[in-house]
Symmetry: C3
Subunit: 327 residues, 3 copies
């Protein structure tokens, strides 16, 4: 089952993921999805191996998704709660990570409000020769690779054939709508969608879509209509309420009027358009409530379900890198 080509100990960014690597992740996730459809949704793959969930920034959805993925691989899990942590006692982040390494953690799933923290920890782990795989579960505004991979998996299953392959998105028009500037989800998706050959359009108010985004090979729009036109896929992004206090948007209501996805706006898209949102959703802001619940368009629940399979796949592949094929 393990493709020979997987050579990553860490999953930190999708920037240099090849199509072949994307397809390895998709196919491995597909196999695990089959496991999840069984009566006993568990495999002994990572038995007695330790996954440390180091969520310096709090999270419900992603943390639980990783926790469940790890449990279904029979791993043991250590959780790090920022509130009760040694950090408040003056310890550095690297020392915290090293403590988990010294205890025996072989995987670290790291979320941090600052960009680059998972990369720094991964470099330190490599320096220690510690055989630890680091997975970026969201760092600042930088990247959130597992989210983009689960989006890709969800979309390839929606558009493709039996076995999900990234090429099924070739030439598809994807509109990413919302607070692109602060979105690690958007950045990771830009890499994977471009690698898959999709035609990516970005739409946001100018304050939330600066020029620097030209480098990604996507088309920028400061209005939502041209992005939505004939789009096969619409990815809505979460809008944080703080953006209003920062004077980046006039109000949530005005944002919704101009950029919120509604049944009406969806008419400009391809008739079989699919809608994604990484969650948690502010109903009536990024997307209208009725549209979110419409299973004909919304793949939001499938995204959550895909998340467990994708994260099982990533831990599995990373674990396989360390120790050779698991038999």
């Amino acid at each position: 089952m393990i493709p020979a080509a997987w050579e990553r100990r860490h999953v930190l960014s999708l920037r240099d993921f090849t199509v072949a690597e994307l397809d390895i992740v998709l196919q491995t996730a597909h196999s695990f999805q089959e496991v999840l459809s069984r009566r006993t949704k568990k495999v002994p793959t990572l038995q007695a191996r330790v996954v440390a969930n180091l969520f310096f920034e709090s999270s419900t959805r992603t943390r639980n998704s990783f926790e469940l993925a790890a449990k279904r691989l029979s791993a043991d899990i250590l959780n790090f709660a920022p509130g009760t942590s040694a950090l408040t006692k003056g310890e550095t982040i690297l020392d915290t990570a090293k403590t988990f390494w010294a205890m025996g953690a072989e995987f670290m799933v790291i979320r941090h409000q600052q960009s680059g923290v998972p990369q720094t920890i991964a470099a330190e782990m490599d320096r220690l020769g510690g055989h630890v795989g680091v997975l970026n579960a969201g760092d600042g505004c930088h990247e959130h690779p597992s989210q983009a991979l689960l989006d890709l998996f969800t979309l390839c299953q929606g558009f493709g054939s039996d076995r999900p392959r990234s090429e099924s998105l070739k030439g598809k028009k994807v509109a990413i709508v919302g607070d692109i500037r602060h979105s690690r989800v958007a950045r990771s998706n830009l890499y994977s969608l471009k690698a898959a050959g999709a035609d990516v359009h970005l739409a946001a108010p100018p304050t939330l879509l600066p020029k620097e985004f030209d480098c990604y090979g996507a088309t920028r729009h400061w209005q939502v209509e041209p992005a939505l036109e004939k789009a096969n896929i619409v990815m809505t992004l979460r809008l944080q309420r703080e953006r209003m206090d920062q004077h980046l948007i006039p109000s949530l209501r005005e944002y919704h009027q101009q950029f919120g996805l509604t049944r009406d706006r969806l008419k400009q898209c391809h008739p079989e358009v699919k809608v994604l949102h990484p969650g948690p959703v502010n109903r009536g802001v990024e997307i209208s409530s009725d549209l979110m619940d419409d299973p004909h368009f919304s793949l939001i629940n499938q995204q959550v379900a895909s998340g467990v399979a994708i994260r099982m796949a990533l831990l599995y592949l990373m674990g396989n890198y360390h120790t050779g094929p698991l038999t």
Copy 2:
């Protein structure tokens, strides 16, 4: 072991529980109590199935009791901590629940400070056809079915024969004393005790025992003495300190003088009277400290022990409903 008559996917309220259903729960809990007396206190019943503990209101005792019950059934557990949750990010409670459903949770144990939340989530799960069983672990002042069932189990074991049956409480005088008005424990117990044929008396200051309680078929008293007289069972309820600030009681000391259970007051009861409290106890308020520790009268520790067996039974029965008899 599974009685044919169990037809509940959810356990939300004891309002319409039949005697037959109560007895199914009691007998299943009795079987699990036997498991808990073994060297290896674990059965593979719910292996790889996911129980989501969604405690929107914080809890030590009930959450740990459910967690241990789930572990002893070999389930995997996801915990939801309200502080670090998506709720603070604007997500609705239903969307939070749907996220856990989409991840693969098959059981949701829900506590919420608002009455009706577990019911709303259960209805949504049914609408989704999601084969999810919802268990109300306490909703506002409304109900706390697993607490009343563990009280029933504890009492039937105290009064009955080898196999606990609800009929062993027939005709027994039960005094429920304390903050009945705000008590979900009292409301659930009223249903199960009346179904079992007990003679239920309520005692509290008028501010904590309004007229609406007449509908339950219990006798109301605004003084404790008539309720205690010849009582076979006294259930004391937790008094929250806030009640003083709300001017519902003059002071904790005065409350104790008028309604606190003491060794002296107990003399009015049946000589073999048994005392319960759902915990956590304010020693010297609801009950005097020495009485609480007297194993001749107090069943408080047995209640906690029964809790694990009852919760194993409920999860087992709910799980059995979904998928047919587990062999």
Copy 3:
């Protein structure tokens, strides 16, 4: 594997630990370290037995270390989070502990900011005849036995032969440097190091090293140099930032200048000196950053690793006391 001489249900203090007992712990930990070097780092020893982690004082490192130790013995774990606890509802600490006992916990790992709490709980558990083993995971300024035992284990492995024995520290000069007055780590280490026959020197400013420490049979110094001279081992202690506000030290900078361990100061020690710190470390306060990271001197990472093996050993030995040899 189990030595016949282990007769402790609880591990509360190292005050009266004999050399024979220390060696039993070291040898059992050594066996578990062998388990931890295997592919499958897990043994079924405590399967389905419940370890309650009652950390009334928050902790990352010690709590996770115990959690991992318990998981590697296949135990089930209940966690107590002080913030969300029944304590805030007026319950006494003893009642909280009794709740976990009544649920079926057989081990309680207790940390509390007040000295003596684990001892009180252990006495209550014995009174209840509850076959519960209590482990002190740090009580106030009193003791932290598992930390001192992991220090001993780390040192014996650094200095001794294949199988760690406490006699390998006989005659070694150990300098304990830092906030000795408030250190439960120092107190526990004083007992075990003296039992092992080490020559213990204490160094701290007078405000942090009062006269009462004369009773331990160690040499007191109010300057660091005489303690470090030809020392084989230097134990640095954590300095809490509060000590500055309490006017016990002038500033962190001045503390570091006078008592901080640096590469320069280390030249006074034995050339093969080993440096320990219980963590979390304030880099540049108790110890200079470069020295902390120098694997030639620093055993800090080994301490963390030893922690898991030592805690497995303690739970194992305590568990064995209850029920007879596990076969």
